[in-house]
Symmetry: C2
Subunit: 309 residues, 2 copies
């Protein structure tokens, strides 16, 4: 089961970290961009090839340090069809390096449409008598606003192809409370979502004690993290908001269970663009930033007695 | 403003209807598929070319009858990069025929990521000194679970490029109530979202009295439709769930204001695959189904005294 594979990789690499691959052309080193502008002009093709070259450099630099990467698909969609090709190849390259790939797609729709998203991002597409792969990742992030109809449609892929989901519970952004914090009979909307996740966790759970149906809970809301940890003991938390968005190592300790497991903390800009404003090579800076983040989080876990290694 | 353009087209064509372009390979006429399998084999290229040929046939058959089309991007994503190219070309072809294009993408994320989605689906992408178009539609559907941070990021495109949004308020699917119907101080979550939409409507509104920030409200919940109409008088409603999902003409009357305007009703399968199980050509069947749906809705509006023509 995918949750077991992820937990094993976290233990082996001693690193509950996921690196966000959110390419922004304006932050990619100039020499990479210029090389491709030279070849292809100022086109989406140049943008896509630059992104791919950059991502491969990052993946090479961090693949022995972390269990997973998380490309955010919006940053690829904005470069058109060519950007989507860079997204596809990034997923493939990361998988070839043994990394778990989290497709940060935040999809969610009515049943039949969610099925198409499940096929697109985790599954196999039937074309005539063939089964082909559109954009294959391991996990996909899912928006719960449409309810269980949506999640259900991903379950064939979760069960048969050993895939997983991270369902948005409490997101890291400032206005996340507008809907998520509304109070329903003394309970927040995000708690209601957490209970839906927990129900799924009871239905599918790996030998590690963790389910392939996880939850997104932002590092920027540490007290909510702790409360939600208790509501979903078998869920792996995907924790965005570390670093650039303001979350610290001590903020995320609450995302972990007493066994020191059950969460992966994401950093995107803080790692992949760590070279900005320095003299360092982007890949070396990303590696150093990953090691620093890993050590910060492991130290904070050790201090709190949550030791998984 | 885009809302004015849409209202004008509804009046001119006497048709508050949007045709959903949700291609399912298994429902596309065999002769179209076989022609492309012959050329390209059982590949995504063949799938994408078949979808495009089918969509162009549908668009040609209905472009004089309706103001808008709504491609659902999930059905294109499942055919990979090639599918995304078919999506892009479908949007372009529909625009060339004077149709308003609603990108049913249901995106929504933290601020900086939503900005990338806004650029991808409504805006212009900067590459070097160039501004390029990734997947340009007129409206995009947006998921509100992350709150205003997300909507705000689309406003540059809405204001400067005359684009629009449809925010998910009450969706047409069975489990939409799990989150959307939760009761907060005697009020449903979807009403809270409606109030957010209404606040945006006060900030941006066209000469027609309608705002380019609309709302998605399902035909399958007629009493909610009526209540929500009162909460968001300036919002155009995008109403899915007609036909295949069970909504009828009398169910959707409540989506319209007393002036007979303020809503566009979507049908996808019921129109584009109307030929299935008949001897008719797919395009002719789609045209006939569109005329029937238009007449049903106009008759229901007339009966209720909501006459816009």
């Amino acid at each position: 089961m995918l949750s077991d594979r992820l937990i094993k990789a976290i233990k082996e690499k001693k690193s509950p970290i996921v690196v966000g691959l959110d390419p922004r052309l304006e932050s990619i080193p100039k020499e990479i961009l210029e090389r491709h502008f030279e070849l292809y002009g100022e086109t989406f093709e140049a943008a896509a090839e630059s992104i791919l070259a950059f991502n491969m450099g990052i993946i090479d630099a961090i693949s022995d340090l972390v269990p997973a990467v998380k490309p955010q698909i919006a940053f690829y969609e904005q470069y058109g069809v060519e950007g989507m090709m860079a997204y596809k190849k990034t997923c493939e390259y990361a998988k070839s390096k043994g990394l778990v790939v989290v497709a940060d797609v935040k999809r969610g729709d009515i049943g039949s449409t969610s099925k198409a998203y499940a096929i697109a991002h985790l599954g196999r597409t039937k074309v005539g008598s063939q089964y082909l792969t559109a954009f294959e990742a391991d996990f996909a992030t899912v928006n719960p606003y449409l309810g269980d109809d949506c999640m259900k449609e991903f379950m064939d892929e979760v069960r048969e192809l050993e895939k997983g989901l991270f369902i948005l519970v409490k997101t890291s952004n400032k206005t996340s409370g507008q809907i998520q914090d509304l109070e329903v009979e003394g309970e927040k909307v995000y708690s209601k979502v957490a209970k839906i996740v927990s129900t799924w966790n009871d239905q599918i759970c790996g030998e590690s004690g963790y389910s392939p149906i996880g939850a997104v809970v932002g590092a920027t809301y540490p007290s909510e993290l702790e409360a939600l940890r208790k509501l979903m003991p078998k869920a792996i938390f995907l924790v965005p908001g570390y670093g650039a968005q303001g979350g610290t190592a001590s903020d995320v300790v609450g995302a972990f269970n007493e066994d020191g497991l059950g969460a992966i903390v994401n950093s995107s800009r803080g790692i992949i663009f760590a070279y900005e404003g320095t003299e360092a090579h982007f890949a070396e800076a990303a590696r150093a930033a990953t090691i620093q983040m890993r050590d910060e989080i492991n130290n904070a876990l050790e201090k709190s007695g949550k030791i998984y290694w």
